[in-house]
Subunit: 386 residues, 2 copies
């Protein structure tokens, strides 16, 4: 069980781990907060990207007094019997830095609280090593902490964890469509199907994914900047890689100071595109359109999550939001699991809906007793997803 001080420490560790100055991609984001055995804050630290200190080492250094750099330097003696609250299982391998487990053991830490286990086969073993050294290790904290804290821990390194498990980036497809499934009107106009709240959420999604991917058609038609901007137009501190995929001609994306790098993937094969993005460190790809690209990834079974912004409006004609899925008859339908529904109210009285869905791997099995409350319909429209 986590006590109240440890829960607060975990919240803070997740917060500093998510520092927007830290790049996304092939390294996990990790935070560490060290408490005295009385629950007083000793030090905090986080990982700042490949080649920099791990979160535990960062926190230990800041806590260790004269040799530590941090303002909270409390001397090495204070660490004896202290508690380290970490967002990810401490590593047990020697990489560019020494194993964090050894550093914790040597510092005399008495207890370690771990939010997520490390799925990386190279790094795992940390829990066992800590326990062998006599340290009290608390894991599987999901049930001990508020749901939003468990969700934040899960979201923090979703793409990185997915990459370790599947060898390709996590793929989130974003669709903006009308109630009758249109992504554009008959004359091709599509700006804007959804209201300001939904569009602002897209910019937040771009800060959570490390890569934004569009097809050449969208690049030609929409000239999208694919930057993550605040409502006032200012750039978010973190900008995604901007990838354009396809064999057709397409102009370069608009050149903008501070925008993410642009790359061109000259393939129509979603697997090949994802392999290329993965090799460049991409771990979470946001598919932003258009309908042809979305259909290609759906057909290939390479969409892990759909975020649908549904505008309560009808067009009666125009480009469908999803193109041919090679489905001829109803039994071949592509069923999705509806995970969440939330309204996105905009000034002026427009309210779009955000639906979060996941393709079903296979026909749904029997569910014990489906109840109306089994679907989390969230009224929180703050938009932040991480």
């Amino acid at each position: 069980m986590l006590d109240a001080a440890e829960q607060r420490a975990l919240r803070r560790a997740l917060e500093i781990a998510a520092d927007p100055a830290v790049p996304l991609g092939p390294n996990p984001r990790v935070g560490c907060v060290i408490l005295t055995s009385e629950g007083e804050l000793l030090a905090e630290g986080h990982h700042r990207g490949a080649g920099t200190a791990h979160a535990e080492a960062d926190a230990l250094a800041r806590a260790a007094g004269p040799h530590g750099a941090g303002p909270l330097g409390a001397g090495a003696a204070a660490l004896r019997g202290a508690t380290a609250v970490v967002t990810l299982e401490p590593c047990a391998h020697v990489g560019r830095t020494g194993p964090c487990t050894d550093a914790l053991i040597e510092a005399g830490i008495g207890r370690v609280v771990i939010a997520r286990r490390d799925p990386n086969p190279l790094a795992t073993g940390g829990i066992q090593r800590l326990r062998e050294a006599g340290i009290d290790v608390e894991t599987d904290v999901e049930t001990d902490v508020p749901a939003e804290l468990a969700a934040a821990a899960e979201q923090l390194n979703r793409g990185w964890e997915h990459g370790l498990e599947h060898g390709r980036p996590l793929v989130t497809a974003k669709l903006a469509l009308t109630l009758d499934g249109r992504a554009a009107a008959a004359d091709g106009t599509s700006q804007w199907i959804t209201g300001p709240a939904a569009r602002e959420e897209v910019h937040l999604l771009r800060t959570i994914c490390d890569t934004v991917l569009v097809g050449t058609g969208t690049a030609r038609t929409d000239h999208p900047t694919l930057t993550a901007r605040r409502p006032d137009g200012a750039l978010h501190p973190r900008q995604p890689l901007r990838a354009v995929m396809g064999t057709g001609a397409a102009p370069s994306l608009p050149v903008l100071e501070g925008a993410g790098e642009e790359i061109r993937l000259r393939t129509r094969d979603p697997s090949a595109a994802l392999a290329e993005l993965f090799s460049r460190g991409g771990r979470h790809v946001l598919l932003e359109g258009g309908p042809t690209l979305a259909a290609a990834f759906l057909r290939a079974g390479l969409v892990d999550e759909l975020i649908v912004h549904l505008a309560p409006t009808l067009l009666g004609a125009g480009r469908p939001a999803v193109e041919d899925l090679a489905i001829d008859t109803l039994t071949q339908r592509m069923d999705l699991e509806l995970l969440d529904v939330a309204p996105l109210p905009s000034p002026g009285g427009r309210t779009d809906l955000r639906l979060t869905l996941r393709p079903r791997a296979s026909p749904p099995g029997p569910v014990p007793s489906p109840s109306a409350t089994s679907l989390p319909v969230s009224l929180d429209s703050s938009g932040a997803r991480a």
Copy 2:
């Protein structure tokens, strides 16, 4: 203010008014519960259709003792100073029966609680007449009672009230569609896009509307029975009029014992069809398809409410759920106001969504401060709407 006994009485009055044995259509449904001044039940009554006693007269007769027919006969003396709780403003005109206001006054009723005012210019004036007779009249109870009670009072005679105000039936369009706006797959298969819970709700809708309307295309393709059935296949006690509209050829609907009467409207003009249905006593029409009929009514501005059953599934091709709306460009979009969202979970893990929407008469005006909680996302999926 209503006291607790009066709130209970109103709940009961709404319940008996909605007796499924009472026909829908051109007469309002009304319930009346009479309480002693101590809040004890004296009698209850309801209207049973054209030519029968009004609810107040029914309740008074049951309460009035030897001459009353009811089991609760308590003698005329008990009515002195009693409270009558009625779902609709008592009438002040002489129709096939004498005015209810006079009957209440003569009986010596001391207080009358009225859930809804009578929008009928011929019947109105009841409140004034009661007050002139020295009776304490409580109106505009919406804010005094639980929201679901106020909603039930509003739902009870929605079609009837709409008819008085607009001179045509209320029109509810029901659409069943996929996330990408399809009503059928490429080969025309459409049974079933939605799960059992959504389909059961359609049967409940058919018991609330007095008329079900389909186009000749749907009659030809689907051979729909258009009956209101329970999940076990048994017919609901109330069955809608079954109307088929269009100038094309169409077979008769399936002949079924207990089903509603079938009529054919040989027109493609929604206004003409509604005028004909109104003259036959129709006050609430459920448009059940297909896409051509829905589009015709939407184009004509003759849809008052949309109930959309959205299946979380993709088809990528197939018949759109709404056909041509004569919209060429995005600015001509047909915006709808999203009133409610609710999940419809079915056994087997399928969850459809029910969206309730209303066409916007004009572009939305400025809204003071739209908040996330302004949209009632209801988790109640009981399906009952009245």
